[in-house]
Amino acid sequence: MEVLWLVILGLVAGAVGATLGVGGGLFIVPALVVFFSLDQHVAQGTSLAVILPTAVIGTVGHARRGRVKWSMALPIAGGGLLGALLGSRLALALSGDTLRMLFAVLLTILAIRMFARSLRPPPSKTPSDI
């Protein structure tokens, strides 16, 4: 049964991520903790294990269509490597409880941002008359 639910989790995370561009990891981590009783650290590590191959496939697709600005991607990725090493080491040093609270704060901030953005009037699709 759990096998099926994990696949469904992926389906939902993939669908939302692809449609809204909101990262799948933001859903995978809490879902794993709340519904699958994973440790916060393991949930995050597992999420990364999903994100990496997804990103590889996505990059190949985007690169083929010439959408990637490599002149920017490479330096940012370089910084990203360093930042990720620092961030992950910090995460692993923190207690599961602390990390979980921090994640809850992150979710709240992003949710508020998303809601605020949705309050802005959408750009008009038709030109206003004269």
Binding site: H41, R67, G79, L85, S118
Partner: protein, 113 residues
């Protein structure tokens, strides 16, 4: 270089929380580097390859990865992305965004308690 700094910040957040980091990279590319949205998204995904790989290595080194769960979720995510792109266009974006925001708040509360 500003680009490298952006990477460090985004990678740090990604590594700290086990997420992609795109939430930082994409808006920054559009707002500060004046890159088109679709290019920013694509470039961000390329960056995420590097940062998620580095973060994953750390977590894996600590044994904090459930590989079986990851594989199953990944299988779902592939179809999810394809289905999502095809069928979710018809749902009004504002409704989706707000629903997701509410879900995130609920998740935050569940995590915090």
């Amino acid at each position: 270089m500003k680009a490298v700094m952006l990477g460090v910040v985004a990678g740090f957040v990604g590594g700290l929380f086990g997420v992609g980091g795109g939430i930082i990279v994409v808006p920054a590319l559009v707002l500060f580097f004046h890159i088109a949205q679709y290019e920013a998204s694509a470039t961000s995904v390329a960056v995420i390859v590097a940062s998620s790989a580095a973060a994953l290595a750390s977590f894996a080194g600590d044994g904090a990865v459930d590989w079986n769960a990851a594989a199953l979720i990944f299988i779902g995510a592939g179809s999810g992305a394809a289905l999502g792109t095809r069928y979710m266009q018809s749902i009004p974006e504002r409704f989706l965004t707000r629903t997701i925001a509410v879900v995130m708040i609920v998740a935050a509360i569940r995590l915090a308690t």
